[in-house]
C-alpha cells in the first residue's frame, strides 16, 4: 500500500471502551422499562464506521467496492446490507460503510487495495457516531414527533435511509426492516437525542434492549 495516506489501527487491542451513550447506562436499564413498550431502543455500539468517497460514475470505483465488500453501491437514499455489514448512500459521492467492531482497519485496507490508483477517500469515523435501533409498534409516531420528513411506508419503505432534521438537530434515519428503524447519531449530540427519545416515547412506553 502506498504511503500517500496515513492509515493505522486506531482501535486498541484491549482497552476500556465507552460508546457515545455509555453514560446513559443502557445495559443497567435493559429489561426495566415498560413491559408492553411501544418503543424499544438498543444502541448498536462500537461498530466500525467508515466514510467512503469516490466517483459513482466510474465503473472501476463501483467494481472495486464490490470486489472488496461483495456489495453493490447503493443508489440515492438507500442502503444495502449483507450480514453485519451495511453500505449506505449519503451523498452523490459519499457512502457510509458500517462493519463489525474492530474490523474497520482491515476493511479499509482491503478497500484501498481494491481501489488502488483511484481518487478516493476512506475515513474512519467509528468513534464519532453510533447507531440506535428502534423497534416496536409506536416507532413511527416517535419519528413523526421528531422529524418533518414523511416516514409513512409509502414514502419511506424498508431499505431507505435519509439524512434529515430531527428535533433541533440532524441525523440519519435508516429504515432497515418493516418494524425496525435505525438512527445514526453523532457522539456529541447523543445525549440530546437520548433525552429527546425518552421524552417522545414516554406516552407509548419505552424499553431498552442491551
Amino acid at each position: 500500500m502506498s504511503n500517500l495516506i496515513n492509515v493505522y489501527q486506531q482501535r486498541p487491542a484491549a482497552a476500556h471502551a465507552e460508546s457515545p451513550l455509555f453514560h446513559a447506562g443502557l445495559e443497567q436499564l435493559a429489561g426495566k422499562g415498560s413491559a408492553r413498550a411501544g418503543v424499544t431502543v438498543r444502541e448498536k455500539k462500537l461498530l466500525g464506521h467508515l466514510t467512503l468517497r469516490g466517483d459513482a460514475k466510474d465503473p472501476a470505483f463501483a467494481g472495486g467496492v464490490h470486489k472488496a465488500l461483495g456489495l453493490e453501491l447503493p443508489v440515492a437514499l438507500t442502503l444495502v446490507a449483507a450480514g453485519d455489514t451495511s453500505l449506505q448512500w449519503l451523498a452523490p459521492d459519499e457512502w457510509l460503510l458500517i462493519v463489525p467492531s474492530g474490523s474497520e482497519f482491515a476493511v479499509e485496507q482491503k478497500l484501498r487495495e481494491a481501489l488502488e490508483g483511484q481518487h478516493i477517500s476512506i475515513v474512519n469515523v467509528s468513534g464519532g457516531q453510533t447507531l440506535l435501533e428502534l423497534t416496536g409498534p409506536k416507532v413511527r409516531e416517535v419519528l413523526m414527533k421528531s422529524t418533518s420528513y414523511d416516514v409513512h411506508p409509502s414514502n419511506f419503505p424498508a431499505g431507505k435511509a435519509v439524512g434529515t432534521h430531527f428535533a433541533k438537530s440532524q441525523l440519519v434515519i435508516r429504515h432497515t426492516a418493516e418494524d425496525t428503524w435505525e438512527l445514526l447519531i453523532r457522539r456529541s449530540f447523543s445525549d440530546y437525542f437520548w433525552l429527546w427519545l425518552q421524552d417522545a416515547s414516554a406516552e407509548f412506553g419505552l424499553a431498552i434492549k442491551a
Binding site: 496515513n6 484491549a14 467509528s126 456529541s188 433525552l195 421524552d199
Partner: protein, 1006 residues
C-alpha cells in the same frame, strides 16, 4: 337551584354521569357531554362576564368558536390557570373551576358598570388615541390604568406542569371540519385509498348533524354521522383528529392543527399524557369544510343576556337538552331560522312570536311553524330588547328595509329570550390566510372563499355557500372525490343518504335593524360584542373619514382580539358600506390571519423547552468534568469546562491557580471540541493553498502549521493548525464555533469553484477526542504513558507523531496555544476517558492541574494569540492583526482573500490594528469592549479610535494587560490611550506589543 333549564329528556349528554363544577365561586352540576356553556345555561347562569369597554353584563350568545362573551379563566391552582377559554368549546369535567375574566368586584355588581354607563358617552372609538396621546411621557402611566380596567384573562405565574408536543403529518387529503360536508368529503377520499386526515374542533365529530332536526334516510342525522365515523376509523390510512382546531393555513399547503388531548379530562393532563399537540400537516390537497357561523341581527340592546343566536339555541335544546329560557321571540330574515321555533315547540316551550323581515315568507319550515300556531309578524323585526341583566321583553316594529326606517310604533312582547338570525357567514378564515380575498355573493348575502390561488384546496358545504343539508353532503362528497383524484387516486361513486326536499326561499338583506331614533341616539346596537363596537361607533368612524375597511377595523377595534370578527365582521362592514353609500363588495372585507382561535404557548413550544430547549453537545470526558466540579461555558452548542474551582474558589481564584499550574508545572485541557476535518486527495495541498492565507507547498509529512482563513473580502474568518499526515492526507483543525462553517466553506469552494481539484473532506470532530498537556512538566508526564520518543530533537515543535498513549493508538501533535511546551493527544473518542484518567493518575506527581477555557484564554492572550470572533469581528485583515507573516504574498494561484485584502481601503495605514494594552495602573483591568480615545479631555461625543478585545489580570506577569484594536496602533507603540468608562472613571493604558509573555518563544520550543 339545580339545572333549572335542563329539559326532562333529550340531548346527547349522559344524565347518569353528573359532574360538579364551579363558576365564580359557586358550585353547580352538569352532565358528562356538556360544554361548560351548556352547563352554565342549564343552571340558569345569565351573566358570564362584563364587557370590555362599557362593562355591561353579558351572557352566552353562541354554541361554538364564535362565542364572543363567555371567554373565561379556568384553573383551580395557579399553575393550571388557562386564560381566554370559550365556555362553548370547553368540555365539562368533574371539578372544573371557572371564573369571569372581567368584572370587579363581581360580574353581578360591577363598579365599572356604573363608570361604564357614565363613561360610555365619553368613550367613542379612538378615545384612547385622542385622549391619551399627549403628553407623550405620561403614556406609561395611562397604560397601566387602561390595562387594569380592560383586558381578558391572565397568564399563570407558576410553571406549567403539563407537556406538549408536535406531530408532523403528511397526507393526500386533509379535510377540515367534520360536519355533513366534511364527513362526506373524508368518506369519498378515504374510500379511494388516499391518506386522509379529518380534523374537527368539537368534542364529537358530526357538526350540525348532531343537533339538526332534519333526518337522513328517515333516521336521525347523527346516526349517519356515527356510521361514517365507524367506517373511517376502521381504515388504516385515515387519521381522525377530534378536539383539533385547524388554526393556520400556511404556504405550500402546510397547516397547523391544535389538538387538545386532555382538556376534556381535567385542567392538568393525567400522568403520562400529553396535554396538547400541534400537528404540522403537509397536505397534497385540502378540503375546507369549515361551515358557517350564523350572523346575528344588530338591534338596540342586543347585548343584554338572553339575546342569542337561533342556531345556538337549537343546539342547546337538541344536543345538550338545555333550554336557555322559557318564552322565545325570533327575529329573522331567512327560512333556516324557523328550525329553532320548531325545536322550541318540540321541547314544550312557548314561542311568543316570530318577526320576519320579509313581507310574505312561504318556505316549508315557515309554513310548518304557521301550522303549529306560531304568530308570525312579517315585514317586521325586533327593534329593541328590554331588560338589564336578562331580557324581559322585545319591541317588534314593522320596518322598511329599503329606506332603513321603522314604519310602525310596534308592540312590546314579554319574553325572556330573543334569538336572531341574519343569515350565515361562511367561515372563510382558513381560505383567506394566504391572502385569497373572499368574494361577495348577493344571492346568499355572504362572502365565500375566493379563488384558491396557490392554495391547493377545495371548499365544500356551508363555507362554499351551500347551506342546505342534502346539497352540503353532495358538495362534500364531490370535493372529496376531486381532492383524492388530484392527489392521484381513483374516484369512487357517491352513495349518500336521502334528505327530505323542502321549499326554501331566499333571505332578505338585513344587517342592522332600523330604530326610531338615529343610530347615534338610539340605545347601543352592538356589532362586535367582544370589543364593544357599536353601529354608532362604526358610523362615527366613517364620518371621521375612515373609508377603508381596514382603517374602520383599526379605529373601532371591530374584529380584534380573540374574536377575529367571527360574529361582527359582516354586519360591521355592511353598516360602514351603508353609511358611506356604497355596496358591500365595494367596501370589501378585512383579511384573516392565523390563528383561527387562540393557541396555548405550550403547544407552540412543544417539547423544545427545559432540558430539550437546545441541543447540548458533550465530549467523551464529560462525566469526568462533572465529577471534578467543572463549571461550564457555552461555546456554540458545546458545553466546555470553563474552570475547575476548588472549595471556596471563585472564577478569578481558580483561574489564577490554573494559570500558574500551567506556567510552572503542567495542566490538561479537554480540546475535543475543536473542529477537525480529514482531507484526502492528490490536490489536498493545492486546496489548502487556496483557502488559507499562508503557503502550504513546502509543509513536509510529519509537520504541522498554523493557518489563517479569510473570506473573499480579505477579512479573517477562522484559524487553526493543519498537519500533513501523508503526501495526500492532511488533518485540519478549526475553531470550536467555526467547525461546521469551515466544513461548508470547503465544500462550497470545492463543488462550485474548483471541482477539478481531487480532494475530499470528512468531518472527524466527533471521532477524535483531544487532550492538551501544557506546561514545563508535560514532557516528563507524557513520557510515563507513551511509547513515543519525546526527545526535543526527535519530536520538535510543530510536528506530530503516532504511537500508544495509555495503551491506546494515538496521534500526538506538538503544538501550543499557551506558549508552553505542549502536546495534543488525539485518540478515538471511545477510548478517550480511559486515556484521560491514566494521564490524570500519572500526573499527580507532576502537579497536573485540569484547566478550562478561561485559563486557556488568558494564557493565549499573554502570548498575543488571537481568538477569532473575540479579537476579530469580520472586519480585520491578517495585516490588521500584525500577522502579515501568515500571508503568502507570492503564491502562484490566487487564494481566497488576497484580492480583498489588497483593496485600497484594506491597505489604509490608519485602520484599526491589533496591539497590546498595558494599563498604567497595574491593578486596573480594562473592561472588554471598552471604547478607546486618544484625548480624554475632548467633549462628548468623543472620537473613538478603537476598543478592547481581550483583557485579563495576569498572575504570571504580575499586572493587568489587554489586547485591543486602535487606529494606526502598530505605529503608536509607547503612546497612551484612554478608556472613559460609563461610571465616569478613566483607565489609561500604554500601547505595547501584543506579545506579553516569552516573546522569543523559548518556552514552547524547549
Amino acid at each position: 337551584m339545580s339545572q333549572v333549564n335542563r329539559l326532562a329528556s333529550g340531548g346527547r349528554v349522559d344524565r347518569s354521569q353528573p359532574l360538579t363544577f364551579s363558576f365564580n365561586g359557586q358550585s353547580y352540576q352538569g352532565f358528562a357531554g356538556d360544554t361548560l356553556a351548556a352547563a352554565l345555561l342549564a343552571n340558569g347562569v345569565d351573566i358570564v362576564g362584563r364587557s370590555f369597554k362599557y362593562s355591561r353584563p353579558r351572557g352566552i350568545v353562541a354554541a361554538g368558536a364564535e362565542e364572543p362573551n363567555a371567554v373565561l379563566q379556568i384553573g383551580s391552582t395557579e399553575a393550571a390557570q388557562i386564560p381566554n377559554v370559550r365556555a362553548t368549546q370547553q368540555a365539562l369535567y368533574a371539578g372544573l373551576v371557572a371564573s369571569s375574566t372581567n368584572g370587579w368586584p363581581s360580574v353581578n355588581t360591577d363598579l365599572m358598570g356604573i363608570l361604564g354607563k357614565v363613561g360610555g358617552k365619553m368613550m367613542p372609538p379612538g378615545f384612547y388615541y385622542k385622549t391619551f396621546m399627549y403628553p407623550q411621557n405620561l403614556w406609561l402611566t395611562y397604560e397601566k390604568y387602561i390595562r387594569k380596567a380592560a383586558g381578558l384573562g391572565r397568564a399563570p405565574t407558576a410553571v406549567d406542569p403539563d407537556s406538549y408536543d408536535y406531530m408532523n403529518q403528511h397526507c393526500d387529503v386533509l379535510v377540515v371540519g367534520a360536519g355533513p360536508a366534511g364527513l362526506a368529503a373524508a368518506l369519498a377520499a378515504a374510500r379511494s385509498g388516499a391518506r386522509v386526515i379529518l380534523a374537527d374542533e368539537q368534542e364529537e365529530f358530526g357538526g350540525s348533524l348532531l343537533s339538526t332536526r332534519e333526518t337522513l334516510d328517515g333516521k336521525p342525522a347523527a346516526d349517519w354521522a356515527a356510521q361514517v365515523i365507524t367506517e373511517l376509523s376502521g381504515m388504516p390510512e385515515v387519521t381522525l383528529l377530534p378536539r383539533s382546531t385547524v388554526n393556520g393555513y400556511h404556504d405550500h399547503n402546510f397547516l397547523t392543527i391544535h389538538q387538545r388531548l386532555t382538556d376534556h379530562l381535567g385542567e392538568i393532563a393525567p400522568l403520562g399524557m400529553v396535554r396538547q399537540r400541534m400537528h404540522r400537516v403537509r397536505a397534497t390537497r385540502v378540503v375546507l369544510a369549515t361551515g358557517a357561523h350564523e350572523r346575528p341581527l344588530v338591534y338596540a340592546n342586543n347585548d343584554v343576556p338572553g339575546n342569542m343566536l337561533a342556531d345556538a339555541v337549537s343546539t342547546y335544546v337538541r344536543r345538550y337538552g338545555v333550554a336557555p329560557g322559557k318564552q322565545l321571540v325570533l327575529s329573522t330574515n331567512n327560512d333556516y331560522a324557523y328550525r329553532v321555533v320548531l325545536d322550541w315547540l318540540d321541547a314544550g316551550l312557548q314561542v311568543v312570536a316570530v318577526a320576519d323581515a320579509r313581507s310574505n315568507p312561504r318556505g316549508s319550515w315557515v309554513e310548518e311553524a304557521r301550522k303549529r300556531g306560531v304568530r308570525i309578524l312579517t315585514g317586521s323585526a325586533v327593534v329593541e330588547a328590554a331588560g338589564s341583566k336578562r331580557v324581559t321583553a322585545a319591541r317588534i316594529c314593522a320596518i322598511d328595509v329599503q329606506s332603513h326606517k321603522v314604519s310602525s310604533p310596534g308592540e312590546v312582547l314579554d319574553c325572556d329570550l330573543i334569538v336572531s338570525s341574519g343569515g350565515y357567514s361562511p367561515v372563510v378564515h382558513l381560505a383567506s390566510h394566504l391572502g385569497g380575498r373572499p368574494t361577495w355573493r348577493e344571492d346568499i348575502l355572504a362572502f365565500v372563499p375566493g379563488e384558491g390561488g396557490f392554495q391547493k384546496r377545495l371548499c365544500a358545504g356551508a363555507v362554499n355557500g351551500v347551506f342546505g343539508l342534502g346539497d352540503a353532503l353532495a358538495d362534500g362528497f364531490e370535493a372529496g372525490v376531486s381532492a383524492a383524484a388530484e392527489a392521484g387516486f381513483k374516484a369512487v361513486s357517491a352513495s349518500l343518504p336521502q334528505v327530505a326536499v323542502r321549499l326554501e326561499e331566499p333571505s332578505l338583506a338585513l344587517f342592522q335593524v332600523p330604530h326610531d331614533k338615529p343610530t347615534a341616539r338610539a340605545p347601543k346596537q352592538f356589532v362586535d360584542l367582544q370589543n364593544d363596537v357599536t353601529a354608532a361607533g362604526i358610523e362615527l368612524a366613517t364620518r371621521e373619514g375612515f373609508e377603508s375597511v381596514e382603517h374602520v377595523k383599526r379605529y373601532t377595534a371591530l374584529g380584534f382580539g380573540t374574536d377575529q370578527g367571527k360574529l361582527g365582521n359582516i354586519n360591521g362592514l355592511a353598516i360602514a358600506a351603508r353609511s358611506l353609500g356604497i355596496s358591500i363588495p365595494q367596501m370589501g372585507t378585512t383579511m384573516f390571519r392565523p390563528n383561527y382561535t387562540p393557541v396555548t404557548f405550550g403547544a407552540v413550544a412543544g417539547r423544545h423547552c427545559g432540558a430539550l430547549f437546545e441541543p447540548k453537545r458533550y465530549t467523551a470526558m464529560q462525566s469526568w468534568h462533572l465529577q471534578n466540579g467543572a463549571e461550564f461555558e457555552d461555546v456554540g452548542q458545546w458545553k466546555r469546562p470553563w474552570y475547575f474551582p476548588k472549595a471556596g474558589e471563585d472564577l478569578h481564584a481558580a483561574v489564577a491557580r490554573e494559570c500558574l499550574a500551567v506556567r510552572n508545572a503542567v495542566g490538561i485541557l479537554d480540546a475535543s471540541t475543536l473542529g477537525k476535518i480529514d482531507i484526502q486527495g492528490p490536490d489536498a495541498r493545492e486546496f489548502l493553498n487556496r483557502v488559507y492565507s499562508n503557503a502550504w507547498t513546502k509543509l513536509d509529512v510529519g509537520k504541522a502549521r498554523y493557518g489563517l482563513m479569510c473570506k473573499e473580502d480579505g477579512m479573517v474568518f477562522d484559524d487553526g493548525v493543519t498537519a500533513c499526515l501523508a503526501d495526500n492526507h492532511f488533518l485540519m483543525t478549526t475553531t470550536t464555533g467555526g467547525a461546521a462553517r469551515v466544513m461548508e466553506w470547503l465544500e462550497i469552494y470545492h463543488q462550485t469553484e474548483w471541482p477539478e481539484l481531487k480532494v475530499y473532506f470528512t468531518s472527524v470532530t466527533d471521532h477524535w477526542a483531544t487532550m492538551t498537556l501544557s506546561g514545563p512538566n508535560s514532557r516528563k508526564l507524557l513520557a510515563e504513558v507513551t511509547d513515543i520518543d519525546l526527545d526535543k530533537d526527535a519530536f520538535p515543535f510543530m510536528t506530530w507523531k503516532e504511537g500508544q498513549v495509555g495503551g491506546v493508538p494515538a496521534r500526538v501533535f506538538r503544538i501550543s496555544f499557551t506558549g508552553e511546551l505542549s502536546y495534543e493527544v488525539n485518540v478515538q473518542a471511545d477510548y478517550a476517558l480511559g486515556v484521560w484518567e491514566k494521564i490524570i493518575e500519572a500526573g499527580k506527581k507532576h502537579g497536573l492541574t485540569p484547566y478550562g477555557t478561561e485559563t486557556m484564554h488568558e494564557l493565549r492572550a499573554e502570548k498575543g494569540f488571537i481568538i477569532v470572533g473575540q479579537d476579530t469581528d469580520g472586519s480585520v485583515t491578517p495585516d490588521d492583526l500584525n500577522m502579515g507573516w501568515c500571508v503568502g504574498r507570492t503564491k502562484p494561484f490566487s487564494w481566497i482573500g488576497w484580492r480583498g485584502m489588497n483593496r485600497e481601503d484594506s491597505l489604509r495605514e490608519d485602520r484599526k490594528q491589533l496591539i497590546g494594552l498595558k494599563p498604567v495602573d497595574p491593578n486596573k483591568v480594562l473592561p472588554e469592549g471598552a471604547q478607546l480615545v486618544f484625548d480624554p479631555k475632548q467633549t462628548v461625543p468623543m472620537q473613538m479610535v478603537g476598543h478592547v478585545t481581550s483583557s485579563y489580570m495576569s498572575v504570571a506577569l504580575g499586572y493587568s494587560f489587554a489586547m485591543g484594536v486602535v487606529k494606526g496602533g502598530l505605529k503608536r507603540m509607547g503612546e497612551r490611550v484612554f478608556a472613559p468608562l460609563a461610571d465616569g472613571s478613566l483607565i489609561e493604558a500604554e500601547i505595547v506589543s501584543s506579545v506579553f509573555y516569552d516573546p522569543k518563544g523559548d518556552r514552547q520550543n524547549v
